[in-house]
Symmetry: C2
Amino acid sequence: MEKKANIIDVAKYLGVATSTVSRALQNHPTISAKTKKLVLNAVRELNYSPNKIAANLRSGTGNSIGVIIPKINSNFMSNCIFGIENVIYPSGYNLIICQSTENYEKEVSNIRTLIDSQVSGILISVSNETASADHLAMVKSNNIPLIMFDRIEESLEVDCIVNDDVKATGDGVEHLIDQGYTKIALLNGPEHIYVYKNRYNGYRQALALNAMELKPDWVIQNINSQQDAYKATCLLLDSPHPPDAIFCAGDILALGVLEALKERNIKSPEEIGVVGYGNDIFGGLTTPTLTSIEQYPQEIGASAAQIMLQILEDKNVKTIPKTISIKPRLIIRESSSRKTRE
Amino acid sequence: MEKKANIIDVAKYLGVATSTVSRALQNHPTISAKTKKLVLNAVRELNYSPNKIAANLRSGTGNSIGVIIPKINSNFMSNCIFGIENVIYPSGYNLIICQSTENYEKEVSNIRTLIDSQVSGILISVSNETASADHLAMVKSNNIPLIMFDRIEESLEVDCIVNDDVKATGDGVEHLIDQGYTKIALLNGPEHIYVYKNRYNGYRQALALNAMELKPDWVIQNINSQQDAYKATCLLLDSPHPPDAIFCAGDILALGVLEALKERNIKSPEEIGVVGYGNDIFGGLTTPTLTSIEQYPQEIGASAAQIMLQILEDKNVKTIPKTISIKPRLIIRESSSRKTRE
DNA sequence: CAAATTAACGCAAACGATTGTTTAAATACA
DNA sequence: TGTATTTAAACAATCGTTTGCGTTAATTTG
């Protein structure tokens, strides 16, 4: 097993200085076309490729971008990563991916690792345990660009890419109203998370705008799983004033709702309307098919990555942090369509 | 914005040599407990953390592990990555993730990038365009450990983690036979891909073992999408000798089958049995619910990662490459259950 | 008590590139 | 022809660590 050739080998092979080789490879103007050609040939001959670690150390510029997400194995997140990778790849950066697994300690540890690894920038969607922003501030104080997407920490002034959850939820609720539902419940995630807070606000605003009652009993927060949603639905249905529609802040939650309805032989959309969130692939397969909200996760990831590349390009240009909002879209299916379209 | 402290700053602060600081941080035995304590304090004081780039360069040991997959936004792959990350994270390595997007050129480019970035090892699931193994051989010749999972290139002698697709498919087919189906068709992916080749073999063997006819017309290869599967099913049903069961080498394909059946008002499982592959989340939601094969992607990823860590630990120990087979499991649901259980 | 160990740390050379500064050769100009 | 300018490449410092080896002082040994 021979040692990999380094720049010195190439230089010796040609009888030139390493600086010449280095500059030739960077297409530096002070190197003549002739020597450039020679270098290129020698490089091929010796199967040389530059050691990026060494280059990074010397030049100070990193070669990779870090991404921290709660968990990668969700439809939403893996599509975000897909979008990010597509944009980052052509630029030559590597993607270093970390999972916080919804754990604050691990998220902090991830940040440290990425900083120590000299990443050029960090994209993050924070864990649901994350209350403090100290670790994120640390990123900024290390002069590393930071961008948040989807799950953001509002106390920090950085670029953000989010969905307009308020509007999307509002659209969903208005659609239910439009279909003649009048008693609309909300099954929401943990309220302290940015997106769920917004979905709650969207729900409230839509009701207010339509002069409709908001019964506190109909708002159930902190629902995290299909199981939770199933139970919550049962409670709602058994209450003295059951709702006639349920807006779910996640498609998985909607599955729990449908499960409870099926069990009790309650028809949807006839008796109860259901709207989910996320437009997961199974939405078209349930009975009834599920009205939901498409979030365009690939676009979210791609936008975040684009902003990052922009920042990395003109490093010194200090712009004010902006928030980009990707417009979600209501996908109407059976579970909420009580009126027949004409 | 102050410069980040480096090891020289720490050494000066304490009036010791950088070597002392370095060794103290590595808990080297020749450094006294007292100095170690002093160093630790100074490190905290100055908010120092070692520059891994520099450390890697000097020590030669890399700090990250590369992963190449076709696309990250599939249920199977994102769960593999999940498994990989869980195992890799505690070891201190970073995960660099690349997508080949099923493109051979890009896969080669990914390999180059990872080699240039001095990764300590590479995990790969090859693209379906990959015919040559030259780029993979390059990894070996650079003395970088290589492990393949799921989609493997058989011409190369490296550790592999796969499903026993032959057996799993056999189990699925035998289950159909067991349920009284006698004319079993196969909707398969591109035959040149390892997993699909095996699923085809499993299908053949099961039929042979049960002395059943294999009609070439019932084997349809190179089906890549729900759309493809839908069309293929229509052709099968319209043929002079239609099958009474269809084994699909993917759950998405099974969706296409169910679509075609529904359209023609053909009942499953009564008239036609259907088995999918992958146990995607929607399998429990279709009508009828879909019998499928659970592949345990997280375990596949985790195993691959474990082997990698083992190899990295005792670098010099040369072992013969082994193939680890994760046993898939048949999940029986409605679409294939013609007999009532007693 | 002199000699030999041992413990604890400092010195300085790597690792493999990049890049500011010089130098040497070639060309331009008067 | 002699000087100024441009061009092309060499020289050498540097990035922030790690690590082999040398050094000193303290400790043990016979």
